[in-house]
Symmetry: C2
Subunit: 126 residues, 2 copies
DNA sequence: TGACTATATGAGCGCATAGTTATATAGTCA
DNA sequence: TGACTATATAACTATGCGCTCATATAGTCA
């Protein structure tokens, strides 16, 4: 069983969330989840300047979400945190559930005028 | 199986992460995960001003992480998103894994000099 | 109605940070 | 060594946002 988290731990957790709360960093991580990659490739595929990419990678590195190694002239980054993929998966699930709720709400506001309209069976909140 | 997320979806996901990347909001959610609650109670227990609490709740409401109902003079908030608890759990797991890795790294740099030092038994991640 | 309580919201301030540009550092290859 | 490439970083700007203070809105109770 799980007791409540201490304030300090909560701040650390918040910091992890904050690091992920940036589209540019998520684009980088999306690419890295497909496999390790150099900074230049990341910059190109995430549509970011080289300097900006480097900075975001520094943030991800400080959060230990990625790890870095040098190879010749290049720096190669890869995902380091095994919880990252399930985390994003769960986030997408929550997002899908919300979209579905919105769809239901819109449907509910339209359908009363038409009476019993065939309604899609409730799906699991996948 | 899961294809790569579109840029637009990624931005929505980032927004969700960003909402969670704030210690004050996590304190609010921590309280709400224990049960629904009025704004005043939340302000007190999360150690926030009334105005600030209200604003954070507005953010959480816009993100559909909580829902709101009026009762008499008060507003009662409760957690709305079923993925929230597992999300935090996963985040804590990732954090614990990181701490453990750090501990191993420190241990590895210290222990070679002393050999097998008595190690405290592993505790659950609080 | 008026006094009181609970919540929401607007204005303003200060700080954190994402972005750019320019430059430094470090490796490769001739 | 010098030219070239890849990456990191410093200086700067602009914007977003968390916070406070003051005020508006809405409900309760006399």
């Amino acid at each position: 069983m799980k007791t409540t988290l201490s304030d300090h731990l909560l701040e650390r957790i918040a910091e992890r969330f904050r690091v992920l709360g940036e589209p540019a960093r998520l684009r980088i991580l999306r690419r890295l989840l497909a496999g390790e990659c150099t900074v230049g490739e990341l910059a190109q595929e995430a549509d970011l300047s080289q300097a900006n990419t480097s900075k975001h990678l520094a943030v991800l590195l400080a959060a230990r979400l990625v790890e870095r190694r040098s190879e010749g002239n290049s720096a190669i980054y890869r995902v380091n945190d095994p919880t990252l993929a399930p985390l994003c998966q769960l986030m997408c699930d929550g997002f899908a559930a919300r979209l579905e709720a919105e769809a239901r709400a819109i449907g509910a506001s339209i359908e009363p005028a038409r009476g019993a309209v065939a309604r899609r069976p409730r799906r699991a909140t996948s």
